[in-house]
């Protein structure tokens, strides 16, 4: 079916429609406008059609623009990998910069894969809050309320600048240890969920003034950090996989139980 006969118009109708629409869009020649003016004077039907088309275009023009989600710009910026001058593969960004990760089907795939691992993870970790005593007995040391001496090279970061939550999260790496440094500020109760399941990583400990029985927990392969006000945590994850490329960490930020930001921290090999 052609575009012309899909709407059931004759060639004469098409010419009149062309004149009417061109006039509405302000893209009509003076000669055509004269012709249209004569037609409008002569025909009630064409005047009626003109009114209707102008109403349609007015309605379309009045449709309000929507604000993009607040997280979108930050999420895009974190995933974009710009070409690096002088690199022979500058036109071929890494796996995570290619955009395929953002497709829904792949996310579903990751979720299913993570779910399978979590089934095992639940058995190993349980879902109870971590007490200070528990956490010190985990792999490595924990509960030293201070900075790590050598946090390592910066791999990725998340800048938060929302109405409910602000701050900075930095992911660093040294040898087999990945360190997330979280400095957050909010007037509302917040929760940060760091999902490291199926990444070839194990939990190695958490430091921070807010570390408490209720505030920090391991649930289904995720570290949950719940607090309020000024917060500073250091979460450590240790590599257990020999794989060169580890999947990004999912980090979700909540304020008063509302999801504020979904972000990824890219783990690239230093």
């Amino acid at each position: 079916m052609t575009e012309q006969n899909q709407t059931g118009k004759s060639p004469v109708d098409q010419h009149i429609l062309h004149l009417l629409n061109s006039s509405i869009d302000g893209e009509i020649s003076a000669t055509e406008q004269d012709e249209l003016d004569r037609l409008l004077i002569a025909s009630h039907e064409i005047r009626h059609l003109n009114d209707e088309l102008r109403t349609v275009t007015r309605l379309l023009d009045e449709v309000q623009e929507l604000d993009p989600p607040e997280y979108l710009q930050g999420s895009i910026e974190r995933q974009v990998r710009l070409p690096v001058q002088g690199h022979t593969d500058s036109k071929k960004p890494g796996l995570w910069g290619s955009g395929w990760l953002s497709t829904n089907w792949l996310r579903t795939g990751f979720a299913l894969a993570a779910g399978a691992v979590l089934t095992v993870g639940v058995y190993e970790m349980g879902s109870e809050p971590i007490t200070a005593r528990d956490s010190t007995s985990m792999v490595g040391t924990m509960a030293n309320r201070g900075q790590l001496e050598q946090p390592g090279a910066l791999l990725d970061s998340i800048q938060l600048d929302t109405a409910k939550l602000t701050g900075l999260v930095e992911l660093r790496n040294k040898d087999d240890l990945f360190t997330l440094d979280l400095q957050l500020s909010s007037d509302e109760p917040t929760e940060v969920v760091i999902n490291f399941a199926d990444r070839g990583l194990e939990f190695d400990g958490v430091n921070g003034e807010q570390v408490s029985d209720d505030g920090v927990s391991l649930v289904d392969g995720s570290v949950h950090l719940a607090s309020k006000g000024e917060q500073h945590y250091t979460v450590r994850l240790r590599r257990t996989s020999a794989a060169q490329q580890l999947a990004p960490l999912d980090v979700n930020f909540f304020a008063s139980n509302d999801l504020i930001l979904q972000a990824k921290l890219i783990i690239s090999n230093p």
Binding site: E3, Q4, Q6, T7, K9, Q14, L17, H18, N21, S22, D25, E27, E52, L53, T55, V56, T57, L59, L60, D61, E62, V63, Q64, E65, L66, D67, P68, P69, L72, Q73, S75, I76, E77, Q79, V80, R81, L82, P83, V84, Q85, S90, K91, P93, G97, S98, G99, S102, T103, N104, W105
Partner: protein
């Protein structure tokens, strides 16, 4: 949409300047998101599409031909990505009630009122080709010539699709509580 400014930002991006990248995202994420939303009729899908569009833009930034306007190039990627998502969604979903009235989903309750929903509804009833030109003309404010460049179609075809789309929307809106 300053061509020279965009060209300078693109050049900086190619040199690895992330601030330039951030400026371009900031400048174009809103129009891209809105175009995607009007084609897809769903905010979450539009956000996904917008994200993918920018990843593709910067992945191929060294391939960008500066004889075209940057925004035309971005829009072309945005339209193609949105239409790809529409096709994927159609392939995944069976034709059911939610597809017959896609603009009435919960996310769209946040849109600016009943009239906007009616117009978006009529828009969603158009085929992809007609909907695309309407979105570019009325939501993105592009001229015939710009739409022609973005879609790489003759202006005559752009006009033909736009005029037919308006006729179809007129019929839909007229039958829907006599909005026209």
């Amino acid at each position: 949409m300053n061509k020279d400014k965009d060209a300078a930002l693109v050049k900086s991006c190619i040199q690895g300047d992330r601030r330039a990248m951030s400026q371009l995202v900031s400048q174009y994420q809103r129009p891209v998101f809105n175009a995607a939303y009007r084609i897809l009729g769903n905010k979450d899908d539009a956000a996904d599409a917008t994200q993918t569009v920018f990843l593709k833009v910067f992945e191929h930034i060294t391939d960008y031909d500066q004889k075209f306007k940057f925004f035309s190039w971005v829009y072309r990627i945005a339209i193609n990505e949105s239409l790809n998502q529409v096709k994927k969604r159609r392939a995944q979903e069976s034709l059911d009630d939610s597809q017959a009235s896609p603009w009435q989903g919960p996310a769209e309750e946040l849109d600016s009122g009943r009239l906007c929903k009616k117009v978006q509804g009529a828009l969603m009833l158009l085929n992809d080709e007609y909907r695309t030109v309407v979105v570019l003309k009325h939501m993105s404010g592009c001229s015939y010539q710009q739409i022609s460049e973005i879609l790489q179609l003759p202006e005559k075809t752009v006009k033909s699709r736009l005029y037919s789309a308006r006729q179809l929307m007129k019929k839909t809106l007229k039958s829907d509580e006599n909005l026209v």
